[in-house]
């Protein structure tokens, strides 16, 4: 009798852990969509409206590259402030300072640089060079992450999970299909190669930092990530791209003007809040579900991004051009089926076996 009760409680605990892992990973994709919508809005308000406007005094290079890095850096720095505040409230600040002096902390910092400034810069540059044709390439990151998880950490990856990842990839392609038909530009091949660096960077970050949150608490992990990314973006990458633009003095000048623009900063504070959960729940989901399932759930941001841009920018702020294509809804259903296939074996339902539970009585 007590064995049966123990088995029931154990099955309940395992099922709860599994469902929480998937929920956390799925919420990370939704938070990513909200962060994308609010950072897009922030970069159109206050001084940013002048910079991106028709009468801008800035060169095309500065508008494309420098402003992209500046926006990303401010967002990550705001996110770091949120992360430090939450860590403080939850009594984790002392552990944050302890962790950054250890090997796992240093690995987390390296992951933050690879997945933050390096991958983001590669994404922005490739988008400018090759256009939206690069989106399917960057969408490869869950597949690459799953392969890395298999080889680096011996995580489970079978034919059913690979089929699920391919279904998710096809759903992302459905969403990006209309943009693919724009045609290729000159320099598209180099742009695609650079886009692959972005996919590889995010895959490494999701896989290694996700596994890292087995050792480091995920809220401490994300604090390390956002502090590192914000500082490296604004203190190293921004001056570097300004130097390439021929005027390094632009870096402090634009940074000061951006921080002194309240209409935009309010929305950077909001985007930074959602970015915090986009990344922290991504790490936690990957550590609870494994990289393949965690990154597939997170990869649903390719639906949540356009969805929340439509909801926040189109419906709430009444901006034109954010309508959601009907194909996006179909793709969302396809993506859900792909995630389901990675998560559980459908045959287990026909065998009347709970696919979410395992365990043995001691």
């Amino acid at each position: 009798m007590s064995h049966q009760l123990a088995s029931e409680q154990k099955a309940h605990q395992v099922r709860g852990f599994f469902i929480k892992g998937i929920t956390v990973a799925a919420l990370s994709g939704m938070a990513y969509g909200l962060y994308s919508a609010f950072i897009t809005y922030a970069m159109g308000e206050g001084v940013w409206a002048d910079w991106y406007g028709e009468n801008t005094m800035l060169s095309v290079f500065v508008v494309v590259y420098v402003l992209g890095v500046l926006g990303s850096g401010i967002n990550d720095l705001m996110s770091a402030v949120w992360a430090l505040g939450i860590a403080g409230v939850k009594g984790k600040l002392a552990d944050f300072f302890r962790c950054i002096r250890t090997k796992p902390g240093v690995i987390m910092i390296v992951c933050a640089v690879i997945g933050g400034p390096v991958a983001s810069a590669a994404y922005i540059i490739s988008l400018q060079m090759a256009g939206s044709i690069i989106i399917p390439i960057t969408a490869l990151c869950p597949a690459i992450g799953a392969l890395l998880g298999r080889f680096l950490f011996k995580q489970k990856l079978n034919a059913r999970m690979i089929a699920g990842i391919l279904i998710c990839l096809s759903a992302t392609l459905m969403i990006g299909w209309s943009s693919l038909q724009e045609g290729s530009r000159e320099g598209a091949i180099l742009g695609c190669a650079i886009a692959f660096i972005a996919a590889l960077g995010w895959a490494v970050e999701g896989c290694v930092a996700g596994f890292g949150t087995v050792v480091i608490d995920y809220e401490i992990g994300i604090t390390i990530r956002q502090v590192t990314s914000g500082i490296v973006n604004l203190a190293i990458l921004l001056p570097f791209v300004c130097l390439l633009a021929g005027n390094i003095a632009l870096a402090p000048d634009l940074t000061f003007k951006a921080f002194a623009s309240p209409p935009a900063m309010i929305f950077f504070i909001i985007s930074g809040f959602f970015a915090l959960f986009a990344y922290s729940l991504w790490y936690k989901g990957n550590s609870m579900c494994g990289t393949a399932l965690g990154m597939a759930c997170n990869g649903a941001y390719s639906f949540w991004g356009p969805f929340f841009c439509w909801l926040v920018l189109g419906v709430f702020f009444k901006q034109d051009g954010w309508a959601l294509e009907p194909i996006a809804w179909v793709a969302a259903v396809v993506m859900f089926l792909g995630i389901l296939l990675i998560a559980v074996n459908p045959l287990d339902w026909f065998k009347k076996k709970d696919p979410c539970t395992t365990g043995k009585v001691g």
Binding site: S2, F17, V215, D217
Partner: protein, 91 residues
């Protein structure tokens, strides 16, 4: 003093097996004032470590109050990883 998660994992290098309650007993003196020193936090840390192959389940049963106890031990890979990245010496 080690970060709390490090201390939980490192503890398994010194003991044969432990459940959440045993981990709390072992770390009580050093971490009882920490706001992370909570049963659900430790249980989730142990299950995450198991999901990633650092720990493995040895057995489970019910305690005197009919509450589930799941016992874990460190795997060979987990031992190597904890020794490499956290260290084997108690802080």
């Amino acid at each position: 003093m080690l970060p709390f998660n490090y201390a939980i994992l490192q503890l398994f290098l010194r003991i044969d097996e432990a459940d959440t309650g045993a981990v709390m007993e072992q770390l009580e003196n050093a971490y009882q004032k920490s706001r992370q020193f909570k049963k659900p936090v430790i249980t989730e840390a142990l299950m995450t470590a198991e999901a990633n192959g650092l720990l493995e389940e040895t057995r489970y049963d019910l305690d005197g109050e009919q509450r589930l106890r799941v016992f874990y031990r460190v795997t060979d890979e987990g031992r190597a990883m904890i020794e490499t990245y956290i260290g084997a010496v108690e802080a």
